[in-house]
């Protein structure tokens, strides 16, 4: 009898971040999403141990001929490409690029979008007007063509894909954060801080920002998927970084090597499924977070 009461009173006393986080971890969607991310991270970290071959190596059969277009077997878990490279090892290696691209872009989008949203919402006036017109502009630029031109003309690097994602995706985060700041800054405790003579910087980062963090987290988790999809698309049209064998690069390789007409399902289905899993993990986390953090949004 006493235990539930204790829990209830504690939850009532601390409706803050810790309580919300605990509720978040009880949401099945969030748990599924986080599990997928955890698996991705583990695979990426232990990629060297998990690979059976070097993803770039051309493999040979016992009779000395190139092991091209092999079906899945014990030696080649997911078969080989038309040039005799091991599909399974490429898939494992691709997790590293997905991790780097996805998380770097997501962190940058969330950080950049949050900062702009905070500044625009808190200071208002001219600064707000300028920043929001910039947001309009970024949203008016066709996203994928921009990424393709940027990556294609500056001779294909993964960095450019991340730059393109950040340049065009921050407005979504910034707009939502700004709207949230507008309501938070009217609250009593912000007013109280102002009266006690706290500086703008202090109010912004100590009093306002913590209330915005869940939103940052929400938009960041969706950005991971966007970044990975963008990298895949840019690689697929042929402007990926050939040094990094990503899932998108694998699909492009399969596509231009006639894997489709040969029906080499073992080659082009797994990378697509991996992309879906990682992107859907972002959706799941965002969905769970929305339910728990902002019940009003979905009521």
């Amino acid at each position: 009898m006493a235990a539930p009461d204790m829990a209830a009173s504690r939850a009532g006393a601390a409706p803050g971040l810790a309580g919300k986080l605990a509720r978040l971890l009880r949401d099945p969607f969030t748990v599924a999403g986080l599990t997928i991310y955890a698996v991705l991270i583990i695979v990426a970290v232990f990629a060297d141990q998990l690979m059976t071959h070097d993803p770039g190596d051309i493999l040979f059969r016992a009779n000395g001929r190139v092991a091209s277009n092999q079906p899945p077997s014990a030696a080649y878990l997911l078969g080989t490409t038309n040039l005799g490279r091991d599909v399974y090892s490429q898939l494992i290696g691709g997790s590293r690029i997905a991790l780097v691209v996805g998380f770097t872009a997501a962190i940058c989008v969330a950080a950049f979008g949050t900062l702009i949203g905070l500044l625009a919402g808190y200071f208002g006036g001219k600064l707000d007007a300028i920043l929001m017109r910039l947001a309009d502009l970024a949203l008016a630029i066709p996203f994928l063509p921009f990424a393709i031109v940027l990556a294609g003309f500056s001779r294909s690097s993964t960095t450019n894909v991340i730059v393109a994602v950040v340049l065009l995706l921050w407005p979504n985060t910034a707009r939502v954060i700004r709207a949230q700041v507008l309501t938070v800054k009217e609250r009593a405790y912000v007013e109280a801080a102002r009266v006690t003579g706290a500086s703008d910087a202090r109010i912004l980062f100590v009093h306002v920002a913590p209330n915005i963090l869940p939103l940052t987290f929400l938009y960041g988790s969706v950005a991971i998927g966007w970044a990975i999809l963008t990298e895949a698309a840019v690689s697929f049209v042929g402007f990926g970084d050939a040094k990094n064998i990503s899932w998108g690069y694998m699909l492009q390789d399969a596509f231009v090597s006639q894997a489709l007409s040969r029906g080499s399902w073992h080659w082009f289905v797994p990378p697509g499924l991996c992309i879906i899993l990682v992107v859907i993990a972002g959706f799941f986390i965002a969905r769970g977070a929305e339910d728990v953090l902002f019940p009003k949004l979905r009521s």
Binding site: A140, L150, F255, L260, I280
Partner: protein, 324 residues
């Protein structure tokens, strides 16, 4: 009327800003822009021609004014590779892209809206358990990968549909209209349009379902039920009409992503549209063509958004035109 003018002015300013970014993007790339413009494959005379055409020897601000002046006159330059005016190359690709995009969007929203409305009445059933995750998965899948799967199944394995292009080789037509309404063209359109639709239907489906769930609890629906109207009639005539507005908003916001996303679908199906043109131009360092294709995609996007904005205002009187 003043709202219309205001929106128009806003669009023009956006267009100017996009043009400026385009100029900077193509000229201030890392590395020497001249190197990409003037390839070693071109002889001296051609190099001189290009220099003169683009005024590349002049200072940057003069280049910029020349560029804007040319654009304002509808002069997009000449393609390096095809030696044709960029404008005419783009005009021949534009109808293909617009038809593909519109077909994909209409299929996706027709299916998504109906399926979403239907699913809202099926809470907790097997259909919901299967279709909702499916909708999420197609939204998370790379568009071009969906295309690859459909291509392998319906073109290569079953041989039911053509594997690529917009028309069979060796087909000639009296006019563009004859071409577009030919059986041959429609057969080629099916796979890319379905790929696009498959990718796009998730959003309207999920959105329609969730807004329907809200609306179905509203008083006017209860009222209709008391009046003894059939479930289907309640769903369609009373609830769906009110749930549609957010879907229309999503449609408008999604236009950009759709048009841009076409780039990869066109590549998978060798569909001779703007997106594929852009990809080819970039891979051949054909700057005038790439710049022109990007410009036209951006213009189509801005114009569509303007049209949707204005229509939206007309359709829903609740949208205040005084603000914004």
């Amino acid at each position: 009327m003043s709202y219309l003018l205001q929106r128009l002015a806003h669009s023009l300013v956006l267009l100017w800003a996009v043009v400026t970014i385009l100029f900077l993007m193509f000229r201030l790339m890392p590395g020497n822009p001249m190197a990409a413009y003037i390839s070693e494959a071109l002889n001296d005379e051609q190099q001189q021609l290009i220099m003169a055409q683009f005024g590349l020897d002049r200072p940057l601000h003069e280049q910029y004014l020349l560029y804007v002046w040319n654009l304002a006159q509808g002069n997009l330059g000449t393609s390096f590779f095809r030696r044709e005016p960029v404008w005419s190359i783009i005009l021949s690709a534009l109808p293909n892209t617009l038809i593909l995009t519109m077909t994909g969007l209409v299929l996706a929203y027709a299916f998504g809206i109906l399926a979403g409305a239907w699913l809202a009445t099926k809470r907790g059933t097997l259909a919901e358990g299967i279709l909702v995750p499916m909708a999420l998965a197609t939204r998370a899948a790379p568009e071009f990968w969906l295309g690859m799967i459909l291509l392998t199944v319906f073109a290569f394995s079953l041989g039911w549909l053509p594997a690529g292009g917009a028309n069979s080789a060796g087909m000639f037509f009296d006019s563009e209209l004859h071409r577009i309404f030919s059986r041959d063209f429609l057969l080629h359109l099916i796979l890319p349009a379905v790929t696009l639709a498959l990718y796009l239907q998730g959003l309207p489906l999920l959105l329609m379902r969730s807004t329907m769930l809200e609306v179905l609890h509203d008083e006017f629906v209860t009222m209709a039920r008391i009046k003894g109207l059939s479930e289907w009639r309640i769903t369609l005539h009373h609830a769906a009409r009110n749930a549609l507005l957010p879907v229309v908003t999503a449609f408008a916001l999604g236009l950009g992503a759709t048009l841009g996303g076409n780039v990869v679908v066109e590549t998978v199906f060798s569909w001779p549209g703007l997106g594929r043109l852009l990809v080819t131009a970039v891979s051949q360092s054909d700057y005038p063509l790439a710049q022109g294709a990007f410009f036209v995609i951006a213009v189509v996007l801005i114009v569509l958004n303007l049209v949707v904005d204005v229509l939206y205002g007309l359709l829903d009187p609740r949208v205040s035109h005084g603000r914004s």
